[in-house]
């Protein structure tokens, strides 16, 4: 198959499956009328993901072997599938497929299951599409479409006050961010008369208006990326969404915001050294994320704050790459992006499995507290084992995947030979140790305490929920031992980052 067609179908398949998933689920649910029949929506969604995987393979193989982006023009819209798009599409596809598998038993008791899967497919399709956008306005359209599907998924438990509150907060903050992005686009449009960065990038000068546009992009996309003063929606949305969606939000949605930000700043690369700004936000994100996570009592909120910290690690790698031309840092940043999708996906799904067994299966929507995990290993050995691997990998314990990508970022920072960067490398190392201060007690609690009453009364966890956990844990361990396995993914992405910034 032609790689160009593969890219078009890679985006189109999930989007075209949205109505099919909904209708299949709706018609069967209406006809059956009771909860004993299995809703086919999830199987249709899974089939669509597998078809998408074939197209991803064809497109990805072309990009990974030649390192050349696949460019194409549909009507007047230019799409380009490069290394960054590949990292994003691969992470989204992998995590999306496993989340659909996991959500089968998790969402079984919920009303309107088919809506869940069709919105999820819409989110997956728009995220893959966002990676390929070249034009600034086109980028905004994908971004907004992704945001809309995620608003509805965050507030999916529409009878729960807490979910509604999280949804409202998320919607208002993101919508303001998206207006700021629009204003940034207006400013660029005014200066250049076009929206295609390939046309205008090279002749831009550091005009103050364009620096303002860049600042608007950073703030606007920064809301979705959870840059620190703009992160307040994140713990609420991540903790209140259904666990599969928490995994998607934390694993790929905030990273999609990051990639959108990189693309928009790449258009303005001649205007200012944006890498330094990213490094500053990186330091703040690491510290605030870790400190806030330390004092959380709810497990999902804890993991949500840890996403803020991990966003800081990614920003550091990418910022170093942009301001010092270290392609190592870019590769490390994208490696960490992919690893974070796996590790945080694993952690949220593992916690979700326990939340389901201990609370949701009994119709109780209260949050999973840290104390509820006491002695969970006795009753749920596989879930707890995989969850512990995920948590320790997030904390950066060797030889797990999280250590390898953090290490690569640290090396890139040290290689700059810049005093400030080396100070930040030490700071990041200390932060990583600090983060063990909340991951390790969770593992300790699950293995080394007497089971609490709530664990003893817990419901069983289905194998369909355990399977994605085992696969993700396996990936985390294998990448820890053989990090070079992902070079095909991270090298083209690093190259594409420099191309995005016109270097």
């Amino acid at each position: 198959m032609d790689p160009m067609n593969a890219v078009i179908w890679l985006i189109a398949t999930p989007l075209l499956s949205v109505p099919v998933v909904y209708l299949a689920g709706r018609l069967v649910a209406r006809k059956a009328g009771d909860s004993s029949t299995i809703n086919p929506a999830r199987w249709v969604a899974l089939a669509a993901m597998l078809v998408t995987g074939v197209f991803l393979f064809v497109a990805g193989q072309s990009v990974a072997t030649t390192s050349n982006p696949i460019g194409m023009t549909v009507e007047t819209i230019t799409l380009r599938f490069d290394g960054i798009s590949l990292v994003l599409a691969f992470s989204v596809w992998l995590l999306g497929t496993l989340v659909i598998l996991f959500s089968g038993p998790y969402m079984k008791a919920e009303v309107g299951e088919e809506k869940f899967y069709s919105l999820l497919m819409a989110m997956i399709g728009t995220m893959i599409g966002l990676g390929t956008a070249v034009d600034l306005f086109n980028l905004w359209v994908w971004f907004e479409a992704m945001a809309i599907s995620s608003y509805m998924l965050v507030a999916f438990y529409r009878e729960e006050p807490a979910s509604l509150e999280a949804g409202v907060k998320y919607l208002v903050q993101s919508a303001v961010g998206s207006v700021l992005i629009l204003m940034g686009i207006v400013v660029v449009f005014m200066y250049t008369g076009t929206l295609n960065p390939d046309v205008f990038r090279m002749y831009l000068m550091p005009w103050p208006g364009l620096i303002g546009a860049g600042a608007l992009f950073i703030i606007g996309f920064g809301v979705k990326t959870a840059l620190v003063p703009l992160h307040t929606w994140l713990p609420d949305a991540h903790s209140q969404a259904p666990s599969g969606i928490s995994a998607m939000l934390s694993g790929v949605v905030i990273e999609t915001g990051l990639i959108a930000m990189l693309r928009s700043l790449g258009a303005l690369s001649e205007v200012y050294n944006w890498g330094i700004i990213l490094v500053i936000f990186a330091a703040v994100n690491m510290l605030v994320g870790n400190l806030m996570a330390l004092r959380q009592k709810q497990v999902k909120r804890l993991l949500a704050y840890s996403s803020v910290a991990h966003m800081g690690y990614m920003l550091f790698g990418l910022g170093v790459a942009l301001s010092f031309g270290q392609s190592n840092g870019a590769a490390g940043g994208f490696f960490h992006l992919f690893n974070h999708a796996m590790m945080k996906g694993l952690a949220f799904l593992g916690v979700g499995a326990l939340l389901y067994a201990l609370h949701l299966a009994r119709g109780d929507h209260s949050p999973l507290m840290v104390e509820d995990l006491n002695g969970a290993a006795r009753k749920y050995p596989w879930v707890v084992l995989t969850l512990s691997i995920g948590l320790l990998a997030l904390g950066g314990l060797p030889p797990l995947a999280g250590f390898m990508s953090k290490w690569q970022i640290l090396v890139a920072g040290a290689q700059t030979q810049n005093v400030w960067m080396i100070v930040l490398v030490v700071f990041m190392g200390l932060n990583s140790v600090l983060s063990l201060g909340y991951y390790a007690p969770l593992v300790n609690r699950m293995y080394r305490t007497q089971p609490s009453d709530i664990v003893m009364e817990g419901k069983p966890v289905s194998w369909l929920m355990t399977l994605p956990l085992i696969l993700l844990a396996f990936g985390t361990v294998v990448l820890g031992f053989y990090p070079a396995l992902l070079n095909w993914l991270t090298k083209p992405a690093a190259l594409a980052l420099f191309q995005t910034f016109g270097r």
């Binding site: 306005f137 507030a155 409202v168 919607l171 629009l182 449009f189």
Partner: protein, 103 residues
């Protein structure tokens, strides 16, 4: 004294953005928050039309504005849907009453 069309547009754009931002910071009713967001986006939309005219690409500017209308209407619909549900569950539309997650 006569003003040319672009400067009138510019004043309206700035006015809409200012009113929207001010309203967003001050109003507490959830429906009014959605309206404030709408006012902000209308400002951005008008700015697209204005810049399209200034750069001599009237069609492009207007088509961008139309796309913004489509995307933004959906955001408004979702926002109002949440508002209806908030009114049902909290018995109030005041955003100060949304405190289940505050800590």
């Amino acid at each position: 004294m006569s003003m040319n069309v672009p400067s009138v547009f510019l004043i309206v754009v700035i006015g809409l953005l200012g009113v929207g931002l001010y309203a967003l910071l001050t109003v507490r009713n959830l429906i009014k928050v959605v309206v404030a967001l709408q006012i902000l986006v209308k400002g951005a939309m008008l700015a697209f039309v204005l810049v399209g005219r200034l750069t001599g690409q009237v069609n492009l500017g207007q088509s961008l504005a139309l796309t913004v209308i489509v995307a933004d209407t959906i955001v408004a619909v979702v926002g109002l849907t949440l508002a209806v549900q908030v009114r049902r569950k909290f018995g109030s539309l005041d955003i100060k009453d949304l405190t289940t997650l505050k800590r």
